[in-house]
Amino acid sequence: MSNGESKGGRALEGVRIIDLTWLQVGPQATRLLATFGAQVIRVEWRERKAIDFIRYTPPFAPDHATADGGRSQGVTRGHANGSYNRAGYFNNTNPGKYGITLNLNHPKGRDLLRRLVRDANVICENFSPGQMDKWGLGYEELRKLNPRIIYIQTTGVGKAGVYKDYVSYGPTAQAFSGLTFLSGLPQPRPPAGWGYSYLDHSPGYFGAIMLMAAIRRQRLSATGCYIDLSQSETGLMLSGTSIIEHQLTGKPTERYGNRMPFLDWSPHGAYRCAGNDNWIAISIQSDEQWRALIEEIGSPAWALDARFASAAGRKQHEDDLDAKLTSFTTGCERYDLMNRLQARGIPAGVVQKASDRFDRDPQLKARGYYVDLPHSEIGTWPIEGFPAKLSRSPANVGGPTGRAAPKLGEDNEFVFGKLVGLSAAEMAALSDEGVI
């Protein structure tokens, strides 16, 4: 659609981000900025208690993986082997970033950070509340050095507010905000919650949106800002209609499993298929789709039951309907059933496990979702991609480095030498002093 004069480029060309974040929620935001071309410099330190937990959390690359190898050499369960550079999840979370080591407990370390901040667009952190102020590196201090700096801090509940000193991780924020409660089968079953830390991911997406809005304003008006991003507040934003409905009805929110209480859709759920823990999601939106389903499964007597002829009837007898539909699906191969139903225009999809999504999913393959990227110690591995195609400033999870995650301190020379302008002798001295 473009006139073709330019070859396109990077949306965040020339943007430098000092990234003090760790674990998941902060690195998620900076991952997206690197994807659009920002120069993200991850600041870490070598002491065990300061090392990002996910640098030493499994899964690890297989023990035989080297810089020249990678997944093509085969997969076996690996170990850390005394290295902080072999963790697969860290590699998937931090592609496209530069990595430096810097001791912020050392006054010279803090001075170097201030030098980095002077020429940066953004600084990100997710320390416990108050840590940066203790170091004299809080927003008010840093904006004196660089008035256009954008400072973003991500915490479980937010830095402002009554609970500002509370400790919280993604799962805590999920429980607190109501997202854990909302997920699962109706009471008396307990909540099923989330099988991972959803609120270590979504706030990262929101963080990226806000940072890109702030970067645009910074480009236009040279102003900075402070962003106190809260994981539990993000949870409230994602609690759907529950809070508003409650204000109108006064009734407590209840769980509804995989069913659809907001539309006359039924059957609507996950149904067991042949094999070990195999399931298919089926979502019938109309009587027409219901009749198409009956025809496809050979019009068994139970399906022609008059109780099931209308959406209202199906809803009313949903337990019975689910049991009868399950008695049919249990004998079916899951992908074959999905294809048969989809061929008749019925929304149906296999409950895909990680192995299905990686080895089989033809859509992800066709769209090039997994991107092979090299890592300097464990070789080339597939990294999860960005879910949209942009025609002029394409997403590129390898970012400006063209690599997966950095090794600990991999880019000290580039950052301290080339960007900060230290000589080799100065860097050697700082390294001896335990600063870099």
């Binding site: 499994p58 099988g195 480009r219 067991r272």
Partner: protein
Amino acid sequence: MLLAGLGAEVIKLEPREGSPSRGIGPFASTAPDKEQSIFFWRYNLNKKSAVLDVDDPDAQPTLAALASKADIVLLSGEFETVERRLPLWCKLAEENPRLIVCTITPFGLDGPYRALKATDLVQMALGGIMAVCGYDPDKDGAYDTPPIAPAMWHSYHLGGEYAAVAMMAAINFRELSGEGQFIDVSVHEAVNTCTEVAIPSYVYAGQVVMRQTARHAAPSVTHARLTVSADGVFMLASLSPFEREQRAVAELADQVGIGHVLGTPEFAQLEKEDRVAAAIYRQDLLEEIIASLPADEIFKRAQAVGLAWSPIRRPEDNLDDPHFAARGSFATIRHPELGRDLRYPSTVASDGHAPHFSYTRRAPRLGEHTDEVLKRAAIR
């Protein structure tokens, strides 16, 4: 709605019968009514609504006028609908090279699944979130409960968030180059990005993670269980082998008068010799402490000793929480037709004084701004 909250003017073009999202419940009325959909209200704050049939050839000059002054055109829905409408917008983008055209479809505009039918449930299934959410298997590792799609439309949340990320990237690119562009968002891929260790566990170690009740899916079943407070509220609480946490729990146990061996040489020995037995001991102690007090009391006391425990609240329990009140997490929105205000969760961040997102207007009634929008289009 995210861009509207950051200050963009968002005009929703709707067919005469209204956007399909006006038909999604719950409804404020007893029967479904396109002006009473709480779902529509929730996701369309601050926007304007104009009735304009984008499929009607007579509407084309108006659409052209709107596109000539717009920054972004966003199309979403089923593949067939988006594919049919897209050429018109691409043509208009040639006349306004700064225009950004963004589509959100279930699977993206190309690939073998592009025309498959999907709902939120189907997207959560194919995208991989369902397989990692649900309940514990039995002791033999077999599941008698289905995988669960967490409620409240998260596949569309994810698709919308990534669309906003991509649109903000395109806006930034336009500041550098003066060029608009075309964006193709796939909800399927958006859901796929959000399953944490599931893909790395398989890619690096060949392990498929197992879903477990209200905790992380993992290659094997972990020991923690949900606990219940004295007043019957489920609590999210865990006790890891980290020394700091053990000390904090010991302090809590002492406070409520429950005897324990944490911190003794005997327990250190047990941890060394039988990690599973030590984990079970910790879990039993945790359950005993939590059963001894009401949820809010445990929450306060646990936080006071630095433990990241929380009651599993209903979303609405936060409406009167002083923390969110202090942050301005809820916007009070006037609904003149109801004769009352409703409070909407309306931000994810504060600038230290006020929320970064600002919502002041309820979702528009169908065609509420048609005259205003048509007049502006006529002026060109």
